[in-house]
Amino acid sequence: MIARIYNSTQTILKFAIEDIFRQFKKDFFIDDYDFLIFGINSDYPYRDVNSTIKKILKTDKFVAFNAIDLFANADTLEGIVALFIKFERDGAIDTYYQDNFVSIKNCVNYLKSHKDALNIIISGVSNQVPTFLDRINKKIIDDDIFLIGGLSSGYLDREELVTYQYVDDKIIKNGFVIISFKNVEFQKGISLGYKPIGPIYNVNLSKDNRLYVAEYQDASLIAKNLLNGMDSQDITNLWYSPVVILDDKDGEVDVVRTFKSFKEGEYVEFFGPIPNTSKVKLSFATEDMLIESDKKEAIKIKNKLNEIELGLNFSCIARQFALGDKQNEETKLYSEIFNAPMFGFFTFGEIGMNKTFETFKFYNQTSLICGIKEK
């Protein structure tokens, strides 16, 4: 498989796609492609994405999606990043999409028919995603299906959060697309790096992403107390200290949840569900701890796969925030260790496998990485 990544930060959509196409045509290493994946900043006019790509590249073999920041090899940028894929043997790509989180039947059937594939999911932002994944989990528990990806990230455009996917001439506004790499070898890793600290809070009352009562006290106090003494009461200050939900079986960290908001006397809200009666704990990481965790996971993948032809990184926007000055180091590090083209984006939530790789899970504040090579 030949994977090549081009990018453009031209502010006009047409010029940016033309810029990318120009780079492709000039590239000595690739003269054709089987599939294209575009990451597109949500500042570009979303209605024109399908038609512009189609018009300039004269193809419909592509999927595009919105992302605030994108990874282009060792760089992180706002603009457009395109991944050009050319298979050299039996590699191939299938796609599946749906514009709702209601029906699971077709999606389950698709996944069951792509058991050996690397399935990459890119979804719109919706509170329905975790429940949707749970419903699918019940149908695929023993099927050995692999899925990795994230929620598109975007800005608000007149009260509409532009986190869309573009496929088959359609704009998916409240759904997802799955891109399945067939006949490829792949290895995956979940980089966390946050160390659980502080007391355990027993969740007494929660619903979806909101935690109302913990330790028989108003849960909004957790956020309020953590912001105490800070010049700004901005909730992003708490992105350095997300909560971890502990696994009820082994007490280890199950998933991380990023603080979203809080209403004094009522609730604290996260970017993902907090199950009722679960146990949560605060956590903390320095930039170095996050990078160290990234390094460990990347080396594991490299050692298992030896040669990598394409690397993918789905990294939470809150994680990037917490990385601060070292924000660019994550993708640079992956790029160096994999020694391969790197593609990925800042997510509004990651989708990956659980610890035992049996079910799908909705994550926050992680970096999900994957190394791929054609069989």
Binding site: I197, N228, G229, N237, F284
Partner: protein, 189 residues
Amino acid sequence: MKKIKIQLLLNILDEVTKRFDELFELKEQLLEETNYKATHDLLTGLYNREAFEKELAKWINDNTKFCLVFLDLDNFKEVNDNYGHEKGDEILIHTAEIMRENLKGMDLIGRIGGDEFVMAIKDCDKVCAKHILDAIEYEIKRHFKHFDVSASIGGVIFPDEGENYKDLLKKADEKMYKVKETGKGRVLV
């Protein structure tokens, strides 16, 4: 950013400290509860036999003058038999209240058997003791007249009538029995 992180860590430390304080308070509370259960009669809240003896031993060691009193309710068994144990328990609780109301905070009260109570009235001679105990006996008789329950009370003075707890208790018990044998519902000091 560093400033925010440091403040965040301090606030997390505060949360930990708060939790430690809560745990410490909980431990103290449990300890207090355990001690209370080990030293008190749970029905009336009075000292149990062992705790009463232990407290009184301190007075004896200090040679503090006191009147040791043995109180036994008359016809209590009939209340249990005719009205049930719940009514019996009510009478025991009320008897304890009457004793508390008529004694000072520094005095000792204990329940050492079913309807057997002991009191130690500090710095008290026979006249003073008789006065207090008559009031207790009167109150018990008045409150429980419908059940025909009264109190037979015997009291002895330390150190005049005995040197140790066992000896004093035996003598108070004998006086109480004398009251029982001679018509019940009376005080003999």
